[in-house]
Symmetry: D2
Subunit: 450 residues, 4 copies
């Protein structure tokens, strides 16, 4: 082996169940989940991860698996990885852990992914009131490109990234999380109105042993304790976590706060591509994958660089530098939304409402080019579109924009005299055209009126 | 004159008051404000505009003018401009008006601008609870670059754009606006809680004759009627308006819905540069300026391309294509925010809270490099930073990001072992260094406890 | 006037002859041409220039003016400008003069330009053996965009730059130039074979009083002496000069060697856009224009940064940094050429032959899309295409490439199954389509057999 | 295996000699070298290649292997691959073969490469008169980044590409090559003067059985015949071949002419990164690697798109589209060269001389920042620098430019008041700093006076 081959730290076997992997995975955040590996500053190492559902979703033409997905057992993470410096001293609370993503990609032999919308009664998504059914699109990868027989006529290069990556919380930080999220659940007993919509789906997912996977924690009292305290992985938090930032890709450097000795870095939920917002929730192109990483330690970096914002010094956030190898697009079509909702009601500077309107406007527009609205909803969730907060001070309207790269479509989607094309859509790019599949989107039989 | 010199349609004299301009300006939206000019499809024409405050702010080292600004008389627009096709038939309701921004810039002899934060009691801004004082930074332009003696050590190329551009509303659309905004004001009689903060400042600005400027509307009963009905220009709406989208720059094409015969296009509030969100409210680099435009008409385009979202067919939004000439940055430092506010309280998928946290994190970070926080607040409002809605589905935390181009700073602002520099800041770029001014930010004497 | 308005240093009147301008122009390089203005380090100043032919070419549909152009009296430069530091000491030989191009553009009222090929007997061009006739294309500017009624169906944003900018040579450097260029002329008495083609047109243009314009040099013996010694402006040399580098645009910083006290900076020959190589010779979009500049002095910079390469310390070259505001293209079609000429003959690692082949391949290819070859020849000379030396070591073939941005065409010019379109070309972008002009290229009656 | 895993068509074992590989390689172009594999249009397939020297160069700190390299046995190619359409009909002469490079990279376990300059008596390079010794730099890959203990202080992302890829020539085309290259050798019996330098090294490499590797051609009379006719792989030609174009990377589409039934596509000589010109000859970062490809056939495409330039219809060249995933740099320092050579002698519009001067100017400049000139020579050969033909018509000086991305250096290499740094160079990026190696470049004991 050449001196610079990445050290294979954690491997997975996608043919096995999450709990059967050789190095045990975990799907909760807790300081007492023991590291499965130790790595030194400066070493190039390789970590493999399974997809976020742990293999529940198949490469087929039915959305039944999405409909019935078990969301209590998701976000299986590879790690924790303990980090030492060159002199073999561990990273310490108060340090910053610099993680450089040197490379990442699909696992050889598993070059596919999926995007879905969950059923409104099982997770839903940003537009669940408009799209209540479970749907699925399967994507195949031609090297850097993704294409789908379920959304024909588009193809785009991936901006591969881990949806979920972070350091372990300390017990103190974990308590802060559990306290504030429980307060939200209590406060919203009767649902919470967001952008004029009453949300009755779970406002936060509190610790639960159901579906918990805790790595090397031994079964018994210790397991029960940890399972009862450990934070769910759904939201991003002070430690990074499920931030779903699409630019954490090749060449990126992330600066994580360190809360426990060794830092205990974990990661998973890889995405081949994601749009800003990941609007459909199961929304990126979800896949298994690998990362090649290097880490280093900024001693005492938290006090130097990360100002707490909240009652404790733990109320900080990671920051990162973008890498030099993102796909390059020069032409974009941009949709606006303001904080007037789709019933015509005025909201006050609400960026969520404004972004929802921008997304809905885009869906309606692109549906004029031969797609179903559900196809576009999935597409916006996973293609390299950019969601911006353009103006947030011009009361009462926040203004959000959604920008779509024109080059991902086989058609010219710009407005033209005479209006959009009529008749069947044109499918000319890639070999999707040669498929015998009819190009429709798997939608679970809709129990809701349109 | 060469055949392709832009036709000078509307000129301004920045030495005169807004109401003294030769072609009368207007600062309200109303279908009955008569056009001041007519232009044909395909003609390249030039429009000049005064700054959004109508000359209230001076190029000096005091923020007293910002403190005392009269916000009832702002957003003076050049226009309306009536649009005809090649056969001299006007644009009609239901058409789309395509506006191509062929060029735009500062007015010769007036190459400067300003950024400010209003006093909390007179407009405020996105972070008014953190920065309640009136402050001001004056920017000078070196061709494509802006620099400020009040925020030394940064310089960046402008992405010039009109903060405010749009077509006239029909009476029916105007009524919709007035009704829904009044409902918001009524609903929020005791203030509105946004991101956990109670907002008691005006939730919306309803029609008022005070400060109204109505172009060619004749004084008398007609003036009084129009003034009593005409919409204020603060928010962006269905007609475009004050959307404050920083990418409406050179080479951009905007597709506006047409609501009245002739389209009646107006514009103003030019910005030399703005950050996504325009967080400080008076937040871009505000200036007078010129635009060179071409327009064309897509007959019947609204029904073809713009799907209404709301009770009427008028509930639509413009869309646009980005131009090919934006400043190019390759290295960015990115700050995250989640929907946990600065008191540590958990909010539910609130993108506004998440973006506020990202902005606050960035301010704290950059303040370690020799700036005051107020300087950074102004900087983030006007430099070419990008604000993204990165994840909006991972309950309970929305994740927003704010990306800053590293190249605008004279210093290397990346985290490094050893921490940020101490001692006086380095000011080495441009001629700011040679100024006798001390480089501090004009802040109106703070009536609030820190 | 605001404090930062560019100081108007040199103005021109395009309605006047070159020798009638208020501040006298010059079209030769000589240390004894006196400065017409002095400028201080740090001042933003404005310089206007006339087009390189001094107004010989008209905005019409005939190429007769190109056919009869007088090439002895071209390249009228604005300047020289003497440069002082903040303490009023002049730049000195051995310093580096840093020139920042803060902005530049077309002159208001003169927003057009031209591209041409000279007759083979009067200047010719890179492909003069293929295109011996005088031809012309006139371009009009829509703000950032250029389009031509003579080459319909293309439009592109300009990357405006001065074709010619440089510092004055010292007498010693001037003598070096005159000696080496005379040696070439002597050596090539019977022509020089370049890429297998015998070149009998002037190999270099030696000093001549004919057509000389010498600024403030007084008529008489002094004028005669200077005119007899002064270098022609055709080639780029150690002082910069006519380097025709298309990236010297907005935001660019050029580092010029200083050879005489005061540096004596001159400039002219502005281009709205140019392709790498400027293959047709009169090849950019030639125009009058303005520049807004700032200068500074690096004392002793030549010894620090510029290593001489040749017998004296004057054998140096400028260097520059590219600005942040170039047009952004993401899709390119690329043509290759190797050093086998169009007769099939093998040359040894000859980059000129390889580039000629790449250009010819591109012309043949694009001519399949409805253009004449002469139109494409002009287009490649002035559109933002990139010419690269890709491989120069794989004997016997150098490999050069020519990359064309796909977005400048109204048609999709990529290869497709079925071949290129047949029938009349499509002209759909901009208002060229609405012109009554037939879209053909003015070609002077061809005295040569095809 | 998932349906979209690339079909593994050709694998290599880098521990074996080139002639021991399972699927026989070849290092000559000849129509009668039989295909080793057949692939269908639309299939995603994977090809592995060994490095261009077939493993002659080692990852060590001596340049002895470069000094003694056997250049008769290089450019081992994987293939030929016969291409069929969906109906199993082969590509035919006159078609165009479209090759899409979907992905490519280093071989797992072999993540390193090398750059060298050959001894002047054994291959030399573009600047062999300045750098006559054999030198070597070994590069290790951190995912997308390359760094070298032999050139510390730089790091850059790769733009991986095959240096050599092409279709097989027909017998007729092969004869054309051999005839014209022999003519050059004959003509240059006493050397050829290029840019004022007499070249006595081989002007072209004519067919020779020495070192020939002919794939599945059977030993005996057939082998001897083919070996005696087959073209060497050094230069790029009508079939593509060793064009060394650095942009043939991820997402690129190449359009190759088809000269023999089945097209017979071969490839090898992969580069992790290369500068335009590949100036040091062994000049890219040379490595073994893999490609994931898709091919399709444009029936009759040669007549439709590729115009012959020369006496036969075979005198054509490939063309290509650039992919969307190239590294993104925004700041460049640019060096100029004109066709005056380093002795001060004037040449006539010679782009090779101009480019050589630009490269020499850059070497001298960067050597002021702590590097030896030999280090920079290697660096310019392999880093992502761009070499442009900027002006090629301003007699007598061609103007070439070489642009270097500033971000690849750990230091700020821009000119500054006070001059370049003195004292030891700063090595701060990556873990090179922590190496015990002293950072010097392996240079074979120099037999030439400096």
């Amino acid at each position: 082996m050449a001196p610079n081959t990445p050290t294979p730290l954690i491997s997975v076997d996608v043919a096995k169940k999450p709990w059967e992997q050789e190095k045990p995975l975990h799907n909760r955040w807790h300081p007492d989940i023991p590291p499965v590996e130790t790595v030194k500053e400066g070493t190039l190492f390789r970590v493999e991860t399974i997809d976020w559902t742990g293999g529940q979703i198949k490469d087929d033409d039915s959305s039944e698996d999405i409909k019935k997905v078990d969301l209590s057992q998701v976000h299986y993470l590879s790690g924790p990885i303990r980090v030492h410096d060159q002199e073999d001293n561990p990273a310490l609370p108060g340090d910053i852990l610099v993680v450089e993503i040197c490379n990442l990609g699909a696992l050889p032999g598993d070059e596919w992914g999926f995007t879905g919308t969950f059923d409104r009664d099982n997770g839903g998504g940003f537009l669940t009131d408009h799209f209540p059914e479970a749907t699925k699109a399967v994507w195949h990868f031609d090297g850097i490109y993704a294409h789908s027989r379920h959304i024909p006529g588009v193809r785009f290069p991936g901006l591969i990234h881990p949806g979920l990556i972070g350091t372990a919380p300390s017990k103190e930080l974990l308590d802060i999380w559990n306290t504030r999220e429980k307060a939200l659940v209590d406060e919203g007993e009767n649902g919470i109105t967001l952008g004029g919509v009453l949300h009755t789906r779970p406002l936060a997912n509190l610790p639960t042993p159901t579906g918990a996977c805790l790595g090397k924690v031994e079964k018994g009292a210790e397991w029960d304790r940890v399972a009862g305290e450990a934070a769910r992985t759904v939201p991003g938090r002070e430690n990074g976590g499920n931030c779903d930032i699409k630019n954490l890709s090749r060449g990126c450097k992330v600066y994580f706060p360190v809360f426990v000795e060794g830092a205990n870095l974990s990661m998973g939920d890889m995405h081949f591509s994601q749009g800003d917002g990941e609007v459909s929730f199961c929304g990126a192109i979800e896949m298994s994958g690998f990362l090649e990483l290097k880490v280093s330690i900024l001693r005492g970096g938290m006090a130097q660089y990360l100002t707490p914002m909240g009652p404790t010094k733990l109320h900080v956030m990671p920051l990162f530098e973008i890498g030099p190898l993102e796909p390059r697009f020069s032409e974009w079509l941009v949709f606006e939304g303001i904080s007037v909702d789709e019933t015509g009601r005025q909201h006050f500077l609400d960026a969520s409402v404004a972004y929802k309107r921008a997304v809905l406007n885009c869906i309606e527009y692109l549906a004029k080019f031969g797609y179903t609205k559900a196809q576009i909803y999935l597409l916006l969730s996973c293609c390299p579109c950019e969601g911006r907060i353009s103006g947030i001070v011009d009361a009462p309207n926040a203004c959000a924009t959604l920008a779509i790269p024109i080059a991902i479509f086989d058609q010219d989607i710009r407005p033209k005299a005479g209006g959009p094309p009529v008749g069947p859509r044109l499918i000319t790019r890639g070999d999707v055209a040669k498929s015998t599949y009819d190009g429709s989107l798997p939608v679970f039989k809709n129990p809701y009126p349109e």
